[in-house]
Amino acid sequence: MRYSAWHILKQGLTGNKGWQPMWREPEPKPAYDFVIVGAGHGMAAAYYLAKVFRAKRIAVLEKGWLGSGNTGRNTTIIRSNYLMPANQPFYEFSMKLWEGLEQELNYNSMVSQRGIMNVFHSDPQRDAAARRGNAMLFSGADAELLNTDDLRRKAPFLDFENARFPIKGALWQPRGGTVRHDAVVWGYARAADALGVDIIQNCEVTGFQIQDGVCTGVETSKGPVRAGRVGVCVAGSSSRVMEKAGIRLPVESHVLQAFVSEGLKPALPGVITFGAGHFYVSQSDKGGLVFGGDIDGYNSYAQRGNLPTVEDVCEGGMALMPFIGRARLLRMWGGVMDMSMDGSPFIDRTAITGLYFNGGWCYGGFKATPASGYCMAHLLAHDRSHATASQFRLDRFLRGQLIDEKGVGAQPNLH
């Protein structure tokens, strides 16, 4: 069924009785050409594998239900304002895929390019922002340096005269914005299902079938499934799943908290980030201020954090925009992040033939979803990396080719 305004009208006049489920709920077959574990980035990978790379016999195995993992636990921000040459072309590729996503999938994912501003507070930070903006322009992305007059017009509520962190301007990417997170995976799932991909929910992978260094399938809670190639896209649980294949990863799992205030009238012009601490905020279409900051900073799979980090995040918010103190907090949650040792992700082969890995997304997984899926599909189909993801290799620490976007050494708690 193709969604359209005409279809809504027709259904509205006929009692909305003609809507169909968006995807089938098949039982797993004994064998597939491609088995993808994890239905977040994995769902995007399955879609592009079927659509662009013309693969057949694909299954996506999901431990819970669609959207139950980190798909439902992010802050929905999209942007391509990276600096490193290994990162920026990839995220710009992702941004281009976001821009065409709804037409591509025939699904309203609520892609809203309302812009993102990275506020800076000093002359050196302005220099760094200008350098980053130039790197973005070189990659084909958009960037503007805003002075305080420009910024006051866009966001008059910011604390420009803050005694400790006065605001000097911002790096502005108009094409950044937000996307409805669930609707991304639902859109990919519907489109992938229509191309014949089997989406198998409540199916946990409990082990891998590995013979002589070749992966030939997976063991699941619904029985064994043979596979030509297996792709693991389970960021947050990567170490737990890859351990079953005997692989240790350069990853620690950390909890990142996020928060939503009560609904307010439209106040924020787009996504705003604080330059003197770690705080980022956007406003959802329902009006809630969606915000977050640092990870708690210790290994955790708990999907909830602790209060000192809540205080730290809220202090950042108060320093940037004091009016946020008048909004009441509606809810908060924690998501489990694959924090990689240099803050950058992996899309790579493993030492086991036929087993491919996608993870280590740190804070940045949501915005990467389309390109991550596309590049994973490319890797699965051709057994070699897509041009924009060629540096996201598992052996980069051994080779000294770290992608340390933040310019800091080996720490798992980068973002």
Partner: protein, 95 residues
């Protein structure tokens, strides 16, 4: 989280900074023939378990001692706290 410091009693985890897995005590020998690979594994690879995890915490806003905390990464329950010095000696370091 409350960390029950062996010398100072129960202290808020916010007084501490976190380093990571207790295996970071076991720095490889740089003269080892396999030193390059061992340092890679030591610096970058982690077991990252879901469940019981032994890890290093530094009491930065207290007595500046290093502790080995045994904590459940699924529930955040702190099960055991010992001085890192004693844990390291028990592992055979410092000989």
């Amino acid at each position: 989280m409350i960390i029950n410091h062996p010398l100072l009693g129960p202290r808020d985890a916010a007084e501490f900074t976190y380093l990571g897995d207790v295996s970071l005590i076991n720095r490889p020998d740089w003269k080892d023939a396999e030193a390059e690979r061992k340092f890679h594994d030591y610096l970058y690879l982690r077991d990252n378990p879901a469940g019981e995890h032994r890890e290093l915490w530094y009491h930065e806003q207290g007595d500046r001692s290093w502790l080995v905390v045994t904590r459940d990464t699924v529930t955040h329950e702190v099960k055991r706290v010992e001085l890192a010095r004693e844990a390291a000696l028990a592992m055979g370091r410092g000989k």
